[in-house]
Amino acid sequence: MTVQVKMFAAAKDEIGQTVVAIELPEGATVAQLRQALIDRFPSLGPLLQRAMFAVDRCYADEAARLGPDDEIACIPPVSGG
């Protein structure tokens, strides 16, 4: 399946895209998505290791399974406030 991942901040700037399409096996987990992004963008490895992922606007843990229609975002360490 193809998932669309929203990118922000340094990750977005490094890749040059606000959304990235990633090919994953059906029922892939957040952990697998993280690894797929690292494989695709190795220079972002350290940042991606520290990123959280959100599914449908809620933080998701590593074992959460993803679907092709999910709203997925890569959330690098935040610095608001």
Partner: protein
């Protein structure tokens, strides 16, 4: 009540919004743009946001604060886009019957906003480089502000 804005924050208007005859205390917290971080001088800041989720999280935090403390009114406003020195990036105004709840809840809210809300700050340093702030991550190398990587 929570809000994202690209306009300067109107603190007088926020204080009016949280005023109440039920409140004996009003606390207003402003996060402002500081010039120095260690020895590095800031020229300006830029804030980016995952807006839909940020609004959800801010509402969630207000709800949690209202569960923990007797709050009358609560308003949180986060500014996005380009900020100059001294401008406020966030305002949190809380009113409560007694002051302990106002101080404690405002303190908890800013601490928690800084941990969980999907908003990011970019430092535009005086030396012409820019750098996204990602606490705890290996430092992303600063780039010239025009985006050109030498």
């Amino acid at each position: 009540m929570v809000e994202l804005t690209r306009d300067p924050i109107d603190t007088g208007e926020l204080l009016t919004r949280v005023a109440s005859y039920q409140a004996g205390a009003v606390v207003l917290f402003l996060g402002t743009t500081r010039q120095f971080t260690g020895s590095r001088r800031t020229e300006s800041l830029d804030y980016e946001c995952y807006e839909e989720m940020a609004v959800d999280k801010l509402n969630e935090l207000e709800g949690e604060a209202r569960r923990r403390w007797p709050i009358v009114h609560c308003v949180m406003v986060h500014r996005l886009g380009h900020l100059q020195l001294g401008e406020a990036s966030i305002a949190i105004a809380v009113s409560s019957p007694h002051r302990q709840a106002a101080f404690e809840s405002a303190n908890w809210l800013i601490d928690t906003v800084k941990q969980v809300v999907p908003i990011w700050k970019k430092e535009n340093w005086a030396d012409g480089t820019s750098q996204w702030v990602h606490p705890g991550a290996a430092e992303t190398p600063p780039k010239p502000a025009d985006g050109h990587v030498p």
